[in-house]
């Protein structure tokens, strides 16, 4: 019970911290809508010549784009940057002085932020986008339930990846390069920009062994009902598995990281 109250409070501050920025966030809604529109017209042009590409029909692709980019606002996080900044300016010491699991602190604090983003970005974007573009509702009997679950899992999966990336700040001075690299990997291989089925077979094969496609591609396939039920369950289970693996890796890396810590200043 005490633990629950603690993580709830982490979420609360993550949420509250963004209330001050809600107008900025609404501006971001506009840029996201613009990106969605661009992607929409791009894909429409791609599909002009052929009805089905890489297993996607045009109307599935349109929904994929809108829901994918909207969901991105929810599962994005700034954990890597928060840790990087804290290591660089030394405020990491204040985190170390608190008797709490640093990793879960970041997961849940960011989840509070994600809830905020859901209310102030994801929902407005979906509402406006669904007025502008033809999108389908989640398909099948389980889609409406499993898709939200799967996206929440996406959040924790991505949080873990960002956490591991953030810990690199303990080992290198060139945080920015590491963060950019991770961001690039996620953008390209999560499937937000291009569905994984568009990649060459060998890339798809490699991606099977990596966590990235479970961030966006897998939940979106669930949304679109493109997988049989057994594959849906498998996808969700693999998400959970990756969350656990990355969490464990984070715990391990943390122990090496703090041994190396040499706080700058004061």
């Amino acid at each position: 019970m005490k633990k629950v109250a603690k993580y709830w409070q982490f979420m609360r501050i993550g949420f509250i911290a963004y209330l001050a920025h809600r107008f900025q966030v609404l501006m971001n809604v506009l840029s996201y809508l613009l990106v969605i529109a661009l992607n929409y017209f791009l894909w429409r042009a791609v599909f002009a010549s052929r009805p089905v590409i890489a297993g996607f029909t045009m109307s599935q692709m349109m929904t994929y784009v809108v829901i994918g980019w909207s969901a991105r606002t929810f599962f994005a996080n700034r954990i890597d940057r928060m840790i990087g900044d804290a290591v660089r300016d030394g405020s990491i010491v204040m985190d170390l002085l608190k008797p709490t699991n640093f990793q879960l602190y970041h997961y849940f604090r960011s989840f509070g932020r994600a809830v905020f983003m859901f209310v102030f970005m994801t929902l407005p974007i979906i509402v406006v986008a669904s007025l502008l573009f033809p999108i389908k509702p989640p398909s099948g009997r389980l889609g409406p339930y499993l898709f939200p679950l799967s996206v929440v899992l996406s959040f924790f999966l991505h949080a873990g990846i960002s956490y591991l990336t953030g810990l690199m700040a303990f080992f290198t001075r060139n945080n920015e390069g590491v963060f950019r690299f991770k961001q690039m990997l996620v953008e390209v291989f999560s499937g937000v920009m291009i569905p994984i089925s568009f990649f060459p077979a060998w890339v798809q094969g490699a991606l099977f062994w990596l966590p990235f496609k479970y961030i966006a591609y897998v939940p979106l396939r669930i949304y679109l009902g493109m997988e049989p039920l057994s594959r849906v369950h498998q996808g969700v289970l693999l998400q959970v598995m990756w969350i656990i693996i990355i969490y464990a890796a984070g715990q391990l890396l943390w122990h090496f990281a703090i041994k190396r810590l040499e706080i700058q200043g004061g």
Binding site: I13, I16, M94, L96, L97, P99, G265
Partner: protein, 337 residues
Amino acid sequence: MPIIEAHSLSKHFKRFRRRPGLVGAVKDLWHRTYEVVRAVDGIDLSVERGEIIGYIGPNGAGKSTTIKMLTGILVPTAGSLAVQGLVPHKDRYRHVRTIGVVFGQRTQLWWDIAVIEAFNLLQKIYEIPRDEYRQRLKKFNQVLGLEDLLNIPVRKLSLGQRMRCDLAASLLHNPAILFLDEPTIGLDVAVKASIRDFIRETNRQQGTTVILTTHDLSDIEELCSRVIMIDAGKLIYDGGLRELKERVDIPRRLLVETIFPINASKMMLLLKDYRLGITALDPYRWELSFSKGRVNLPQLMQLLLDTLEVRDLELEEPAIEEIVRQIYDRGAPGDAR
């Protein structure tokens, strides 16, 4: 049993040394040279429960580094350390539950959220029983005057306001040891006073052990019975404050400012019966330096007031840095343990 015990505790940093110029920069690409900074170099400490200890020394002496080791943030390079029977960096999680820490330069609160939200979060993190939390918060509000600050986001607080909140935050879980690294830096007299009162009260009522670093001698004078002094990573004094001041003979300085200019020979003549060092800063301002106990200060001041048109008199006590300097230059005065 001492609450803190350290034997030949050391922390050495390896610092990358850049070579000057373009040639140096290119060489650095190939082969980096490092220098070792002995930030803390073999110190022994033994602190009893309930003490308030002033931990002093000049800039770069190694105070903050010591505090970071005692709080478990930094791993010592060598030596042994036990705080309440735990090795801080190994048992970090259990250790930090029982200590409170304030770094004057940083905040343990969260920039974007209101003070009260941060306090509530700390309640959850430290699992402080609700009643206890409410009671303590109420008391802190009274003593530190936090009432009006609680709903303000931390980033909007002034330094003094933030420091009061930070101090309260560090004591919400009633820690056994409170580490304060320059808690009064940059604060005005009133805030300093309220913070000192608060520390003193907490120590008296809860028996909290306090380790305090500062560059403000008056902090030490008001709070600490014991002073530990460090310079260049080495312990150079450990003992009472009074003994320290008595052992070290540092001139006090009296600054005299007059309305009319005075020439040197007149000043010399006037003060010939006193054992003073006399320096003219300009014809209106004179610095008289003397050892404590060698000069009858009231009498001297009376003489100055009677014979000169005095605009201002100012007495300067030796700064902590000077005491440290003197001890360091001469070697430790005896009882560095």
